[in-house]
């Protein structure tokens, strides 16, 4: 028994995870603030984002108009907050569709392999070869009238092959591990293996890809808005605000700076949170 005690001393005590850090919480706070702003935009004491005040056109940032006004006298602060609604809704909604379809298919294909995997993967790769942004532009140009739900649906479907590929690859690297076979010879059903063994192992990759995906989709919505293919003006979104302000960039740079800043900060925070979470929940990294 003495050898057991010796061995025991080599065993590391389970220790508390390192704290996530102040920057992480600042980012979470910022994202939360944006989301809350987006949800409660019409109850918050904001000015009407559509109200055109011709007595205060192109006003710089100040007390009355926090971020100033645009060339139609609309309050930019209110428009940035309202604009986040569209951006966040598109980002989250599209990714939910993408993951809702792509992730289960990817896991199933990687776990089952065989013909099912071969056919599905070929189809997905063919779809992947087609540039998603061109596809979304094409579909949205012809699918009138434009609506938020359609944009979410189209971008969501376009992201399915991408999510499929990431999740399938992640699952495949896990599915051949001995502990999956071990679970199987303990009598675990396929469903149990997928949900209890595979899912937790790919979750860290999934979550960080989800957050980065949301950020990418928000940029994509910006690009679509820039081309005039997102929600119809005058409804603000970060993308179409930047697009509209582009023409008056020299006279009133604030018009571009504030929505761009909002977009940048939001994306940066999402990426940072995704990255930090992945390393935090990676229990396979031995903390010696």
């Amino acid at each position: 028994m003495s050898e057991l005690l010796e061995e025991a001393s080599l065993v590391e005590r389970p220790e508390k995870n390192k704290p996530l850090g102040i920057l992480f919480w600042i980012c979470v706070g910022w994202v939360a603030l944006n989301v809350i702003g987006a949800i409660f935009a019409n109850v918050l004491p904001l000015q009407n984002p559509l109200f055109e005040d011709f007595s205060a056109v192109n006003v710089g940032p100040g007390l009355h108009h926090l971020f100033g006004t645009d060339d139609l006298g609309r309050d930019i602060f209110a428009r940035v907050v309202y604009g986040s609604r569209v951006s966040i809704a598109v980002g989250v909604g599209a990714m939910l569709i993408g993951f809702g379809i792509g992730a289960p298919l990817g896991m199933l294909a990687a776990y089952r392999r065989g013909r099912f995997d071969m056919v599905l993967t070929t189809v997905m790769y063919v779809l992947l070869a087609f540039p998603a942004i061109i596809a979304t532009i094409a579909v949205l140009s012809f699918w009138a009238p434009r609506a938020l739900a359609k944009i979410i649906l189209v971008i969501g479907l376009a992201s399915v092959p991408l999510v499929y590929r990431v999740i399938r690859t992640a699952t495949m690297s896990i599915a051949t591990k001995d502990y999956i076979i071990a679970a199987k010879v303990q009598g675990a059903t396929d469903r149990r293996i997928l949900v209890k063994e595979l899912l937790p192992n790919i979750a860290p990759i999934g979550v960080s890809f989800l957050l980065i995906g949301i950020a990418t989709v928000i940029t994509l919505e910006g690009a679509l808005a820039f081309l005039g293919l997102s929600v119809n003006p005058p409804t603000p979104s970060w993308g179409n605000m930047i697009n509209e302000a582009r023409t008056v960039l020299a006279e009133n740079p604030w018009l571009v700076i504030f929505p761009s800043l909002a977009l940048c900060l939001f994306l940066l925070c999402l990426n940072f949170i995704g990255d930090r979470l992945r390393s935090h929940f990676d229990v396979t990294e031995v903390k010696l």
Partner: protein
Amino acid sequence: MSTDNKLLVVKDLATVFSTAGGPLAAVGGVSFDLEQNETLGIVGESGSGKTVLSRTIMGLQPRSNVTVSGSAVLNGFEVVGASEKAKRQIWGTDVAMVFQDPMTSLNPVMRIGKQIDESLRVRQGMSRSAAKARAIELLELVGIPSPTQRYNAYPGQLSGGMRQRVVIAIALAGSPKLLMADEPTTGLDVTIQAQILNLLDELKDRLKMSVILVTHDLGVVATRTSRIIVMYAGRIVEMGSTRDVFQDHRMPYTRALLESSPKVANPSHTRLVAIPGRPPNLLKLSDGCSFAPRCAYATDRCRQERPELEPAGPAGHFFACWNPLPTTRGASPS
């Protein structure tokens, strides 16, 4: 001999992979049986088919490009040709497996207690608290100190030896009648190897199960098995009691294998004897004895005609060779 009290009866079992180069018989017609509460060693070089054999007996094959023929009856259940669903009934309760590398055979993101719990709760319908109590009991059984605390540990927090103990605890959760240990100590330090082997031995007696020990290390099987099967190129070339195989082997391959392991009694700087040549390409097997190209005793007959297993005298001792070594029964071991 009646087969009633046999735990495992394997007959003409063959596992053939269809590859781009043609059919590859990783296991080419193997027959043996296993008593209750017996430890059987399966030895052979890398690529001799011992791992494929053990996985075939468990009913674990890749889903495609493999054909299994023959029969393997485990505790009255025919494994060959059984559906996944049917095999799930024997997995865990009739047969369980200990894997080679404890670094990859535990789920890194699940607490070890949960991994033991799983099968207790799902298969045996235990309540959460009963399963936990049983899991802690099992951890204690396999010699994990302070099992109550370890229950909540992640595999990454344990050493290799400890992890292998956990793997064994998981395998024992379903009280299996047969424990299949495929190179259970290869991934471990030599000092830990002995501990794990002793543990398996002790558990075998305590829990009245049978153990199949698959290994390339003759030192591992020497003292802990009652019988040994020597495999070469997917076939059994010699089979017998551990004593017979070690001291009265008739097949030149068995001798070559024994000679190629270092002995403590040898003076230092003794050159280690290696088996000349390489294991055969399973795609290009001749009609003769697969060991013939590497065998010092090979004749034309060996190259043309495959020897079948024949009894060697003592009960249960068989070998497959046209030019067997003379019996050394009674001589002292080298």
